[in-house]
């Protein structure tokens, strides 16, 4: 034991254990930290999505739901709430009335997320949790202008009167589908009997909401799954997919990818450091053996010192991982209603296991083979060094990397893509290196002596250099790839929500109002987007088969939809089947693919529509996919120009209005009381805030991966430094000048850096294309502007590290270097 500790101390001082130790610490830190952080992000994602449900899970039905479900949930300690929605007329005085969408909620609503209210229609927002008081209603802002209402007025729903208490500006569980739904009226569930509007047979949606601790919710969900009947729909996070969720999901994938790349880098650093460690220990093992140490003993000694290094790295790595998580989560602090625990054991165990695997697969093989060192080395130090590179090790290491990445990212395509890129680098690296080194030697013969020395050295170290080259190229490639992905993700988010993107929609603009509304907007210098004509129609039959007026849940039924026409494919839409308008064929329609599926519509089907009272028959000539998160007007059905112009039509558009100018809406609606304004600025600013936070986290992790990359570069340069030191010392002993030696070392490493840079850029572009196309589903564009700086930085960095590493040879007497090694 004493010997073990002395050996560790010796190794620590010698520096070779240092890199190994740091690499292990890094792998623990990265894996524990990033997986902990990713888990927390997932929790954030869940909370975010749950807010869009106003609960953790919900059940929906068109019939009243069993009461005992609420009681059962309550007895398990879950919070519950009930929601009823239906359409009803809202009356004000004798003449004003409007068709509204009434939502009656119990006192605990919403269980997740918050309501936003304001005292005046577009006044200052305040957050609120809980239902309106009995006898009070909250009205959507546009109703105030529509019905000439103010807070304090009395309105009636059915047979009951209510006092208008506030403007309802947003509710958590109202995402998407905002066009065409009547303006919202929210009231307390307790007031429903008094209204008398909910009768048997009324079209009412019933929802029960549940929320609570994760395990309890999961268990309760399982029991509910067995109890729900055909018409009842269980809603969970998976069914609510807001834009925020998508962004968080991509960020999470990026983090996992970054984490797995960091693990690969740390693994390579561990492998390189262990190799060097083993090389430097050959004399030591030879001496121990000459002094009578048997192989098992030598093996035990190294196993114990690795185990100690692992344990030490665990302790330090865990502390650092904790700090990393705290720092990363600090950016998200306001997002969490319940901040996630930083002491969840799982990430720490995952980190420990990963580091253990690194130790076993990357560090142990070269050390285990130390026992094969011949004790004869004590007599003959010129014996060739025991070669630790065995193909089997490489295969096992590659397999381990694949498993680690897969386990870590839980994403097979991503793993395979990165592995393919690694393989490409290794293969092309070996070939290119071989060719370049041979070519370089020929060219070098004609060059000056510094160059000749450098190129001769490059060639002499053939195999070692190739390995170094591949390692450098892989490190640079992974860093480059990550940098590219980060930039692309941030750009994508930025372009999804550019500053000044439209955050209000205005609907129901009558053709005769168009000019006045445009004028008003222009006068206020409000930037508006294109106008879409809009009309409502009813889908009556598909392929001659009448749709029922009302069907069982999920089955196609007659329904209304918003129609528009457009000469071009609308922004953000993509054709997935069929073709865009064919000349001369006017009676055509392009249908959104999800809508088509729900309605049982296929390409080529003939659809019978009813617009007002006039029937119209059209053929489905294309199916489109569209981005529901784009905050742009989206339509299920788009018609060719020239078909619908004769029907009564209104227009819609969107515009950007900064928060401080919200009052303009009052003016707009006073002047044009029939307009409908939909606000999406609240959700957009929430999304923007989330993206900013996620971006910070991404940057933080990228920084950490950079550290891992630097460690690999250092370990790579160190890998050959002993031999180089010895050779340089010899050259110096032979009279080579300081300038000469440093010059040749610099040229050698600069050349290595440039070659590695070329390979890295090629492989990174290929992998970037693959990841963008297959994993992140984002557009790919080549990045030639990045190539020259990468090459320059790679050359300077590796050249600098090389010179730095060999600087000792020119400051210490050659004899000292020769004797020491």
């Amino acid at each position: 034991m004493a010997l073990l500790f002395r050996m560790l101390r010796r190794d620590w001082r010698g520096g070779e254990l240092g890199v190994l130790f740091f690499a292990l610490i890094l792998s623990v830190t990265m894996v524990s930290g990033i997986s902990g952080f990713a888990a927390a992000l997932k929790a954030a994602l869940r909370q975010e999505s749950n807010a869009f449900l106003a609960a953790d899970i919900a059940v929906r039905d068109s019939q009243p739901l069993p009461r005992e479900w609420l009681d059962d949930a309550a007895s398990l300690g879950l919070e519950t709430a009930e929601v009823l929605t239906f359409r009803s007329m809202l009356f004000h005085g004798d003449s004003d009335m409007a068709l509204t969408s009434v939502k009656a909620v119990s006192d605990a609503y919403p269980l997740r997320g918050t309501l936003r209210l304001s005292a005046t229609p577009y006044g200052e927002l305040r957050e609120h949790r809980g239902a309106p008081l009995p006898g009070e209603v909250w009205l959507e802002a546009r109703l105030f202008a529509l019905m000439d209402l103010s807070v304090g007025d009395t309105v009636s729903v059915g047979e009951a009167d209510f006092r208008v208490a506030a403007a309802l500006r947003s509710e958590p569980d109202r995402a998407g589908g905002f066009i065409g739904v009547g303006p919202r009226v929210m009231l307390n569930l307790a007031d429903i009997p008094a209204t008398g509007v909910v009768q048997p047979g009324s079209r009412v949606r019933y929802r029960q909401l549940f929320a609570g601790e994760r395990e309890v919710v999961t268990a309760f969900t399982a029991t509910l799954e067995n109890r729900v009947s055909a018409g009842q729909q269980l809603q969970s996070v998976d069914t609510a997919q807001p834009a925020v969720g998508r962004a968080l999901e991509r960020a999470e994938r990026f983090l996992l990818l970054a984490g797995s790349l960091a693990v690969i880098l740390a693994g390579i650093a561990v492998a390189l450091a262990a190799r060097r460690y083993a090389e430097r220990h050959q004399n030591y093992v030879a001496l121990l053996k000459s002094l009578g140490a048997e192989s098992p003993r030598v093996r035990r000694l190294y196993a114990a010192s690795l185990a100690l290094a692992w344990a030490g790295a665990l302790l330090i790595g865990w502390v650092l991982a904790w700090a990393l998580q705290s720092a990363a989560l600090a950016a998200f602090a306001e997002r969490f209603t319940v901040p996630p625990s930083l002491l969840e054991p799982r990430p720490y165990l995952v980190g420990a296991a990963t580091a253990l695997l690194c130790v076993l697969v990357f560090a142990w093989p070269p050390l285990a083979r130390l026992t094969a060192v011949s004790p004869l080395r004590v007599l003959r130090s010129d014996l060739p060094l025991h070669d630790g590179r065995e193909p089997r090790d490489f295969l096992i290491a590659l397999l381990a990397i694949a498993l680690l990445m897969w386990a870590y990212s839980a994403d097979l395509p991503l793993t395979l893509l990165v592995l393919a890129a690694l393989g490409l680098v290794a293969l092309v690296g070996a070939l290119v290196a071989w060719a370049l080194l041979r070519g370089g030697r020929v060219a070098g013969m004609q060059a000056g002596s510094v160059w000749r020395l450098a190129l001769a050295s490059l060639q002499r170290h053939g195999l070692g250099n190739t390995l170094q080259l591949v390692v450098f190229a892989i490190a640079i490639m992974l860093l480059l790839l990550l940098g590219l992905l980060r930039t692309s993700l941030l750009d994508e988010w930025q372009s999804q929500l550019p500053p000044g993107a439209p955050n209000h929609f205005v609907l129901n603009i009558a053709p005769e109002e168009l000019e006045a509304v445009s004028l008003l907007l222009d006068e206020q210098q409000v930037r508006r987007e294109r106008l879409y004509p809009m009309l409502r129609g009813r889908i009556m039959a598909v392929e001659g088969t009448e749709l029922p007026a009302e069907a069982e849940d999920g089955e196609p039924e007659q329904r209304e939809a918003n129609f528009t026409w457009s000469g071009e494919i609308p922004d953000g839409n993509e054709l997935v089947a069929g073709s865009w308008w064919v000349d001369g064929k006017l009676e055509a329609v392009s249908v959104e693919e999800g809508f088509a599926e729900r309605m049982g519509i296929a390409l080529g089907d003939r659809i019978d529509l009813l617009i007002g009272s006039s029937p119209l028959s059209v053929e489905v000539t294309s199916l489109r996919s569209l981005d529901w998160e784009s905050f742009k007007p989206n339509f299920f059905m788009v018609f060719p120009p020239g078909l619908l112009e004769s029907y009564p039509v209104t227009y819609m558009t969107s515009f950007h209005l900064p928060a401080e100018r919200k009052n303009f809406l009052n003016r707009l609606l006073r002047a044009h009381s029939t307009l409908t304004v939909i606000e999406v600025d609240a959700i957009m600013s929430q999304l923007r805030q989330t993206l900013a936070q996620v971006s910070r986290a991404v940057e933080l992790v990228l920084g950490l991966v950079l550290v891992a990359g630097a460690l690999v570069l250092i370990a790579g340069v160190q890998a050959s430094s002993d031999q180089r030191l010895r050779e340089s010392a010899l050259l110096r002993a032979l009279g080579a000048s300081r300038r000469h030696i440093l010059g040749s070392v610099a040229v050698e490493f600069l050349a290595l850096g440039v070659m590695a840079g070329v390979m890295a850029v090629g492989a990174a572009e290929a992998a970037f294309w693959g990841l963008q196309t297959f994993v992140f589903k984002l557009p790919y564009a080549p990045t030639p502007l990045l190539w020259p700086p990468t090459l320059i930085v790679a050359a300077l960095l590796i050249g600098g590290l090389g010179v730095f590493n060999c600087r000792r040879v020119v400051s210490v007497a050659p004899a000292a270097v020769l004797k020491e090694i």
Binding site: L3, K289, G292, S374, L379
Partner: protein
């Protein structure tokens, strides 16, 4: 007692096999001192390696106190070395990160000796380095480093001591003092000493002298010690 029977060593070269040692016959009794002399490349270090079990012969066998090294595997030979054999090398082979005391303790610790510290200190005192115990090799002169190596070799109480050019890296005066120390300790401990050198004056201090020449060995006429 060390015996070598028909010992040979061949290595594969690009141009074919090269016989480094051929048909070596040797017998050194317990307590004897023997020198193997010869020019550079004559194969004397190879022979030392084979005698000490650091390397394996291609023909013949070595026995140490009746144990055939050929019957032992690498670990068996290591165990034998740990029990019976000590080394002094030309390049000292001290571990740079261990102090003088720790270097001497190394073989004792490998044997599991509980009193490694005091024993090592005693031997350092016997080589005259009691006050340099905590110095690192780089803080010691060449002669002092070799004295530490000698202390390390004797601390394990070996029955046989192999010395490979023990004065080869030292100046003449220091070399003489190191040789004095080596032979004094050898006498006091009653160890068998096998010495490889090309220094004839050092060789002349051994009871028996063998001469290596192109891979063959012959005993020079015995001299009175």
């Amino acid at each position: 007692m060390i015996t070598a029977t028909n010992l040979g060593k061949r290595v594969a070269m690009a141009s074919g096999e090269l016989a480094i040692l051929k048909g070596i016959q040797l017998e050194i009794k317990s307590g004897e001192t023997a020198a193997i002399i010869g020019a550079s490349g004559s194969g004397k270090s190879t022979l030392l390696g084979l005698l000490a079990g650091l390397d394996t012969p291609t023909e013949g066998d070595v026995t140490i106190d009746g144990t055939s090294l050929g019957d032992l595997d690498e670990d068996g030979r290591a165990a034998l070395r740990g029990r019976e054999v000590g080394f002094v090398f030309q390049a000292f082979q001290l571990l740079p990160a261990l102090t003088a005391l720790e270097n001497v303790m190394l073989p004792l610790e490998l044997k599991g000796d509980d009193r490694a510290g005091p024993r090592a200190a005693e031997f350092l005192e016997r080589v005259g380095l009691a006050d340099r115990q905590d110095h690192y090799p780089r803080q010691l002169s060449g002669g002092e480093q070799q004295r530490v190596a000698i202390a390390r070799a004797f601390a394990g109480s070996p029955r046989i001591l192999f010395a490979d050019e023990p004065t080869g890296n030292l100046d003449r005066a220091t070399g003489t003092r190191i040789a004095d120390l080596l032979f004094d300790l050898n006498r006091e401990e009653g160890t068998t000493l096998v010495l490889v050198t090309h220094d004839l004056s050092l060789a002349s201090r051994c009871a028996r002298r063998f001469e290596m020449d192109s891979g063959t060995l012959r005993e020079a006429a015995a001299v009175e010690a």
